[in-house]
């Protein structure tokens, strides 16, 4: 055995590696026990709900469970011609059970989502099924209504066989699966979600831009002022941060409404006529103004923490080497603040893209975001699976942005504080 591969032993003759592991085992257990509460907390409050959301958004067991025998019988059906007696018999059996449980109404609603026209023929089938005789169910069911003899409707039922579906995601993008099983967009005048997604991106983007433009000079001032002034200014920046979000949004409502302070001021200085006060609320303007103000600290703080570390002698060096103040700023100072800009923009953009309360209160119809739509489905239509699907789409959108950012700027190049 060569000396390089020879095992190193401790003085007691135990291999060094074994001894090291033994010595570190205690510390490792201690370390794990210390982080365990947080780990469990994260699993319970983060991993589990997101997993549940994902499951809900694709869960389509309802119909599967209502027609178990039918779908079993349909496994041998090729979908070209009308199914044979076996399927009809199974369907009849399932249907009788549903009628007994008074759940046939739910089935009609669900099937109607897939294809219009199920509601009435299921009602008719319920009434007729009481007089059905045993045997030859195909003939009897087809006699109830001509749609029951139409293969399209049986295909529609078959489409609901899988336990999971991506339908809700398609709906989130204003698309659906048509009779031929192709993915198509809904008619132009019925598209609501695409507009909302685009508007969400647009508002988040511009709010980020406005925040950046306003925060950069403030952060620079904060970083360069003497301590006693910068502390005061810092409190001014943070004060809104410590105020309730609702209070802040409500005060914007007071400021921005048509008879509000800002409009009064504009009329007072003669900028606008009294009978022609601009609407600054319940539209995009309201969302822009209020969200920019509320998200401003999230931009100021990372910028400030980065600027604080930039030595003032760097700017001086730039100038003493012959750079004009602008060149010194642009070539020396600005590149050094990029980690702060990245962190601030990412933070503001991600917060803005999922913003809810402010646009709901001051955004009106044209200033609401996708999160308001999600809340609407959570609270009003109770279509939780659709809300989950949109929530997950939002989450993956954020992750994509994060990934892009990592590709372009690099995540190591970020500094949050």
């Amino acid at each position: 055995m060569s000396s390089e591969t020879k095992q190193i032993l401790t003085t007691d003759g135990i291999p060094l590696e074994v001894s090291l592991k033994k010595a570190e085992k205690k510390n490792k257990i201690k370390a794990f026990l210390l982080v365990a509460p947080l780990l469990f907390f994260l699993i319970i409050t983060y991993v589990f709900p997101i997993g549940d959301m994902l499951f809900r958004s694709i869960d389509d067991k309802m119909v599967t469970q209502m027609l178990p025998k039918t779908f079993k019988a349909m496994e041998n059906w090729d979908g070209q011609e009308l199914p044979d007696e076996e399927v009809f018999a199974a369907f009849h059996e399932d249907f009788i059970k549903l009628v007994e449980d008074k759940r046939e109404g739910k089935l009609s609603t669900q099937l109607n989502y897939t294809k219009n026209g199920f509601k009435s023929i299921i009602k008719k089938l319920r009434r007729a099924s009481k007089k059905f005789e045993e045997g030859n169910y195909k003939e009897q069911i087809m006699a109830v209504h001509k749609r029951w003899a139409d293969v399209e409707y049986w295909r529609a039922i078959q489409r609901r066989a899988p336990e999971f579906t991506g339908q809700k995601y398609l709906k989130g993008m204003d698309m659906y699966v048509n009779e031929e099983g192709k993915i198509v967009s809904v008619e132009e005048d019925r598209r609501i979600h695409r507009v909302l997604w685009l508007r969400t991106l647009e508002i988040a983007f511009f709010v980020t831009v406005f925040c950046f433009l306003m925060a950069y000079p403030i952060a620079h001032l904060l970083a360069t002022l003497p301590m006693k002034y910068s502390n005061l200014l810092m409190i001014c920046v943070l004060l809104p941060f410590w105020t309730s979000l609702l209070v802040r949004t409500a005060s914007w409502m007071i400021l921005l409404q048509q008879q509000g302070i800002v409009n009064d001021f504009f009329v007072g200085i003669g900028l606008v006529a009294d009978d022609n006060r601009p609407e600054m609320m319940y539209n995009k303007t309201g969302s822009y103004v209020a969200m920019t103000q509320i998200l401003l600290p999230f931009m100021v703080l990372p910028l400030y923490s980065v600027m604080k570390t930039i030595s003032p002698s760097l700017m001086r060096a730039g100038k003493s080497l012959g750079g004009t103040p602008f060149v010194a700023f642009w070539k020396v100072y600005f590149p050094l603040t990029i980690p702060g800009i990245g962190a601030g923009c990412l933070l503001v953009f991600i917060l803005a893209i999922g913003y809810y309360i402010t646009p709901a209160l001051v955004g009106g119809a044209s200033g609401t975001l996708i999160s308001n739509q999600i809340a609407f489905h959570m609270k009003s239509t109770l279509d939780w699976s659709f809300a989950s699907a949109m929530g997950l789409m939002l989450l993956s959108g954020v992750l994509v942005i994060y990934w892009l950012y990592n590709k372009i700027v690099g995540i190591d190049n970020i500094k949050l504080g």
Binding site: S313, R316, G318, S320, L321, G322, G323, P325, V332, P335
Partner: protein, 361 residues
């Protein structure tokens, strides 16, 4: 090229930051072309302020600064063409060494091939060839400092300012960098204004040293003169080691004066005392006093050894002499045959020429 005596001229310059305290008072200073001048002083003495006014980052409250005969107070820093080395190097951390050096050339719109030549030359001057592609963060402190020096010289400025450039380096590196900067100065003949609070740095590097205290230049002279012939007690205290006696002039005649101490009288060289009865501080360098002098010296007194400290090449002996318990003697280790033992009484002698009677503290 005849070198100008007043290449840089501070003319009656005052500077105040708050309108209450003058940081620099009535500064009058001429710097010759090609000179290495050091501004030396304790912190808060106004030396860095002077440098910042020269660089253009501060404006004089009163008076004017001239560079090569032109008043520069109204010229912004980037148009002065003065190279500067900062205390913490101030290298641009997001640029490579090459880009750092190219910065002053690029803003001057110097063509690339010419700029490359200049950068090569500057890097070889500080022996950093082959480091051009490194980032400043990948360099050691000494290397960063050399890049900073190279950057301040790469655009051939007539004047280079250095603001405590070696302050962050360890002792050995600092000493070798001192020689390196000195050699660079000697080889290219640029005028250097150097600020430091480290007296040994000032003594080794400079042609002339301006000792600052309290916003004023206390003494402006060559290093040897500064050490041997300080003009006031601040300079005597600040530069090197110093034994002092506080007393009153009892007689002054023929280039000598008698100074009456609490319980004795010594002979001294009257530098800043004019007549009898004046208070004075007599300053004597430790190496000028001898134990049991063989030649005749006009001051000879007995003192008791209080402490002996071994320093390798020499031994420091603290003696209670004429009421001064802090009197220090430096004894070379070759003369170890002397009777230096704790508690012994010994004779100590010095020439009155070396004992300079300066202003009272």
């Amino acid at each position: 090229m005849a070198s100008k005596k007043d290449f840089v001229k501070f003319d009656k310059v005052d500077k105040s930051y708050d309108g209450k305290v003058l940081v620099v008072k009535d500064l009058q200073l001429d710097i010759a072309e090609g000179e290495f001048i050091t501004m030396l002083g304790p912190s808060g003495s106004g030396k860095t302020t002077c440098l910042m006014m020269l660089a253009g980052f501060e404006t004089p409250t009163n008076g004017e600064i001239y560079l090569d005969g032109k008043a520069i107070s109204s010229i912004p820093p980037h148009k002065r063409g003065i190279g500067m080395v900062f205390q913490n190097y101030a290298l641009f951390p997001h640029m490579t060494v090459y880009e750092n050096l190219a910065f002053p050339l690029r803003v001057r719109k110097i063509p690339k091939d010419e700029a490359d030549k200049k950068i090569d030359k500057a890097l070889s001057m500080v022996s950093l060839q082959g480091f051009a592609a490194r980032m400043p963060g990948q360099l050691s402190g000494g290397q960063q400092q050399r890049v900073a020096v190279a950057r301040s010289l790469v655009f051939d400025p007539q004047l280079v300012l250095m603001d405590e450039p070696l302050g962050a380096l360890d002792k050995n590196l600092r000493e070798s960098m001192q020689y390196e900067i000195k050699h660079i100065h000697e080889s290219i003949g640029v005028t250097v204004v150097y600020v430091t609070h480290d007296q040994s740095e000032a003594l080794t590097m400079s042609n002339r040293i301006a000792v600052f205290n309290d916003g004023k230049v206390q003494q402006l002279s060559s290093p040897d003169e500064l050490y041997e012939k300080p003009v006031n007690s601040f300079v005597a205290e600040f530069i090197g080691e110093n034994n002092t006696f506080g007393g009153e002039v009892s007689d002054i005649s023929g280039g000598k004066c008698k100074v009456k101490l609490a319980n004795a009288e010594i002979l001294a060289n009257p530098i800043s005392v004019k007549g009898k009865g004046e208070r004075t501080t007599v300053s004597l360098r430790p190496e000028r006093a001898l134990i049991n002098p063989s030649t005749k010296m006009d001051n000879l007194h007995k003192g008791k050894i209080e402490e002996v400290i071994y320093h390798g090449d020499h031994t420091r002996v603290r003696i209670n002499l004429l009421g001064n318990p802090e009197f220090i003697l430096k004894v070379p280790n070759s003369s170890s045959n002397l009777d230096i033992k704790l508690g012994n009484e010994i004779n100590i002698g010095w020439n009155s020429d070396d004992a300079r009677a300066l202003d009272p503290k």
